[in-house]
């Protein structure tokens, strides 16, 4: 589904990503973790072309992301993305947030988009808030709407960029529950997150990044059992010690 091959990226002389390679098969859930500044967010943003990269190739469902001939908007409409800061559109109601791209990008009718949106809202448990504005919802609720918005496009895979990092602790679980459910339904997911509980529960593989390199790329049990690199062991010791 997603193939990342020897991807490197730099801002001027600052190397953000170095020779990153991995693959994510259909239906796989892959968690990407690592210390801040390790390039994990940048890597996931390269997958749908939000961040350009200078060398290497990324293909999603057989389409090359870095190819200048690729219709990026079309590709992105098939790849769902959830952001750290939700990024709901504050000037639109929840329903409009859910239907705008369905109508303007996929060309669905108003009614079709609306009923699809409402069905997804129900699924994330927020149907009662359909006519509110994003500012009236809590962070956790906004993030669930954001997931529903991404799902409204019927994506072939989902990218999560630290979806719980900006949330108050008591709201993290409501978002993770939605993600777990999604994973169990067989959605292909690439998740940048520090939520190791989530990783243990549903991830097939865990990728550990440090200083722009993929240091570990292991099956979940291997990663949590005995990571090969010292850096990953230190990282795990730090975040699991509490």
């Amino acid at each position: 589904m997603i193939t990342i091959d020897k991807v490197s990226k730099h801002y001027g002389s600052f190397q953000v990503l170095t020779d990153c390679s991995t693959q994510i098969a259909k239906g796989e859930v892959v968690v990407v973790c690592g210390p801040s500044g390790s390039g994990k967010s940048t890597l996931i943003k390269c997958v749908n072309g939000l961040e350009p990269f200078q060398s290497g190739t990324i293909t999603v469902d057989g389409v090359s992301v870095g190819d200048p001939k690729t219709n990026l908007p079309k590709l992105r409409s098939r790849v769902g993305m959830v952001f750290q800061h939700f990024e709901l559109f504050p000037h639109m109601s929840i329903t409009e947030n859910l239907s705008i791209a369905q109508e303007k990008v996929l060309g669905r009718s108003k009614d079709e988009a609306r009923s699809k949106g409402l069905a997804l809202l129900e699924r994330v448990g927020l149907k009662a808030h359909a006519d509110k504005f994003p500012g009236q919802l809590s962070g956790g609720q906004q993030q669930r709407v954001a997931i529903a918005r991404a799902l409204s496009m019927d994506p072939i895979c989902m990218l999560f960029d630290e979806p719980t990092s900006a949330l108050d602790p008591e709201m993290i679980n409501e978002v993770l529950d939605v993600m777990v459910e999604l994973a169990q339904e067989g959605m292909t997911m690439m998740c940048v997150t520090h939520e190791m509980g989530f990783a243990r529960k549903v991830a097939n593989r865990v990728i550990f990044m440090d200083k722009g390199r993929i240091v570990e790329d292991d099956a979940k049990d291997a990663f949590f059992g005995a990571p090969r690199s010292e850096r990953a062991q230190q990282f795990l010791a730090k975040i699991l010690s509490h």
């Binding site: 943003k45 908007p73 559109f89 991404a150």
Partner: protein
């Protein structure tokens, strides 16, 4: 002590109103065209295409570094000739109003471009990213997501600029076009009551602009709390 005599004002009101209509026409045209053209300039300036950004920056910097009155004069001197030449108009056709509108619109769009650029930059970058991630084209993301939020933040500034613009329309006197100020001047000159007429014109400008700016202030507060 100067002997004030206001008696020539009541009879001149219809003529002054004609002048006011010219002032308002120029203001409205310059605001509408200025915001439209200014939006395009702002987007060009923020574009990743270097040449486009450079050209837009050049335009904005050029117009912002030249006094308005000179721009107007050039337009009065050049544009009418140009229009007459291009469309083989009758030499007696009065194109001063049109050239005033064009001059103001082009000049003001440089200022509007800067306001709008700041407005676009005030919208978090993640909004454009989210729009793009949903498959929207750059134009869709701008039109549906970024600009509506930018304009909402900018309304008070855009209106304030419109008030300044309304005052600046008095500069068309250099072409002897009878806007409100020009009309007041003409009446005062004719009746030998220049001081009274200009005081009156000043009062009208003051009242209009003061009331409008109070409205803008209220609006600003309401937007800030919303």
């Amino acid at each position: 002590m100067y002997d004030f005599d206001w008696s020539s004002i009541p009879g001149a009101l219809p003529f002054l109103w004609t002048g006011m209509k010219v002032s308002l026409q120029i203001t409205v045209t310059a605001v509408v065209v200025g915001i439209a053209w200014g939006t395009l300039l702002a987007m060009a300036r923020l574009s990743s295409m270097k040449l486009l950004a450079w050209l837009a920056a050049g335009y904005v910097n050029l117009f912002r570094a030249i006094p308005l009155v000179m721009v107007l004069l050039w337009f009065f001197l050049i544009v009418p000739q140009l229009l007459k030449g291009l469309f083989s108009l009758d030499p007696n056709t009065d194109v001063r109003l049109v050239s005033a509108m064009v001059g103001f619109a082009l000049f003001e769009s440089a200022y509007y471009a800067e306001i709008i650029r700041a407005g676009i930059q005030s919208v978090p970058k993640g909004q454009a990213a989210a729009a793009a991630a949903l498959g929207m084209s750059y134009a869709q993301a701008m039109r549906l997501v970024v600009l509506p939020q930018a304009f909402r933040n900018m309304v008070p500034l855009l209106l304030t600029q419109a008030i300044v613009l309304f005052q600046d329309t008095s500069l068309v006197y250099v072409s002897a076009l009878a806007d409100f100020f020009g009309a007041a001047y003409k009446v005062g000159d004719r009746d030998g009551r220049l001081v009274e007429l200009l005081l009156f014109a000043g009062l009208v400008y003051f009242v209009l602009c003061f009331v409008l700016s109070q409205i803008v202030r209220r609006l600003h507060k309401r937007l800030a709390t919303a």
